[in-house]
Amino acid sequence: MDALLKVNGVSKKYGKKQVLDGVSFDIGPGRLIGLLGSNGSGKSTLMQIIAGLTPASAGDISVMGRPTGRETKSLISYMPDRPMTESWMKVRDAIAFYNDFYADFDMEKAREMLDFMKLDEKSGVSILSKGMNERLQLTLALSRNVSLYLLDEPIGGVDPVARGKILDAIVRFYREDSSLIISTHLVGDMERIFDEVMFLRAGRIVHHEEVENIRMKHGRSVDDMFKEVFGE
């Protein structure tokens, strides 16, 4: 099966600091992948490079055979770890913004998600709580019909109730023929939804395996393995 996403020898340096060091992996279609790592391991940087927001120092990335660039921005829906919306917007403006720029934006799905997330279209974005803002960002990202979704820390800094709601929304609204990469360090909360996981430590992929294998072969949960790999 052709890879949906190919990451080949990607490195990134900030000054003398090596943030990513020769990261390589392939992702097939229809997969839910956890990109796991502690804070500062390079998860967000890798996501940004795949999304085409940050140039890599070395290596190359292709999505459905196309190198990252303007074209792949139409193939990827990225939810960054900070709000994509602008402070002047109301929820409906944010939806309209996405609908204006992305031909693949599904207005009907967006309305359904807003309803599910209990978001009011008339609310101002600037007055939303952290949890509600995360719900809005997720609504915007998942309402696009694309092949690859990238969610950067979608449950970072939100309360357990909002976490549950966000995870339910991911499972309910993600398209099964597409792939979804979720970066997080909150492994315990999220491992139930992953098909495979990648452990990123000090800018390198140190482990990439199917979740089922981890459970069957190693007899451990992903959370246990995460603690073993990242334990100090």
């Binding site: 085409g52 927001l53 602008e86 204006d100």
Partner: protein, 248 residues
């Protein structure tokens, strides 16, 4: 590009409308006040200049935001759309200030000797073409020059981009002026030398000479030079945005 422009205008609508409203109120206030004509004119000129400066700074911030913010950089648009959207935004704002200024201008028109404007109608066609070209190219070149400085500053550093940009601006503008002077014997500050006129108000009565136009097509070299530089700026901005600037 038009969609980017639409959201740039919506994002800054409060500031733009507030500045225009204050400017109009200031002009009306001065026109209706019993102050001397010269005082009215100076105050209105200062108000218009201030509005133009606010709009200029706002435009540079709009461009800066478009090339560095995650929400804009994620959009599947051509890189140069950020430039065109900011440029049209700047031109619209400039036109808004000009329209408001023209309102006050009409008031002053009947109160000063403006008969020399009649001479303008008799200027040769090439001078008119030159003036229009110069106005367009100087405006576009000016804005692109600022944009390229911002793009380079954002490419070079993450912190202290303002100071790096200021330094780049000073160095680049000195180099460009020197180069233009070397090649054509004039720099961009002399751009409107196509037409000269003399105007005096020294003896209590206003006197003026006829408008005089520069002969020939000597000015064309400077135009072409600025046009080529503008194209070069576009390539540099595109390279900086695609290869160097990290969205935040």
């Amino acid at each position: 590009m038009m969609k980017l422009l639409k959201y740039d205008l919506r994002r800054n609508a409060n500031l733009l409308l507030a500045v225009c409203a204050v400017l109009i109120l200031c002009e009306l206030g001065m026109i209706l006040s019993p102050a001397m004509l010269e005082v009215k004119m100076v105050v209105i000129l200062i108000a218009n200049f201030t509005a133009a400066v606010i709009f200029m700074i706002n435009n540079l911030r709009v461009f800066d935001y478009n090339i560095k913010s995650v929400s804009r950089r994620l959009l599947p648009v051509n890189t140069l759309s950020y430039v065109w959207a900011s440029l049209v935004y700047a031109i619209l704002n400039t036109l808004a200030v000009l329209v408001v200024a023209a309102g006050a201008g009409m008031y002053f028109l009947g109160r000063f000797d403006t008969s020399f404007w009649g001479d303008a109608l008799h200027l040769p066609v090439y001078v008119w073409i030159g003036l229009v070209l110069e106005a367009v190219i100087t405006t576009v070149y000016g804005f692109l020059f600022f944009y390229v400085v911002i793009a380079l500053a954002r490419s070079i550093t993450k912190k202290g981009a303002f100071w790096v940009g200021l330094l780049l601006f000073l160095v680049l503008s000195a180099v460009m002026d020197w180069l233009e002077n070397l090649l054509f014997g004039q720099d961009s500050t002399q751009a409107f030398n196509l037409v000269t006129f003399h105007y005096e108000n020294g003896t209590g009565t206003i006197t003026h000479d006829s408008l005089t136009a520069m002969a020939g097509w000597n000015w064309l070299g400077s135009f072409v030079f600025e046009l080529l530089l503008s194209i070069a700026f576009l390539f540099v901005i595109k390279w900086c945005v695609e290869k160097r600037i990290e969205a935040r």
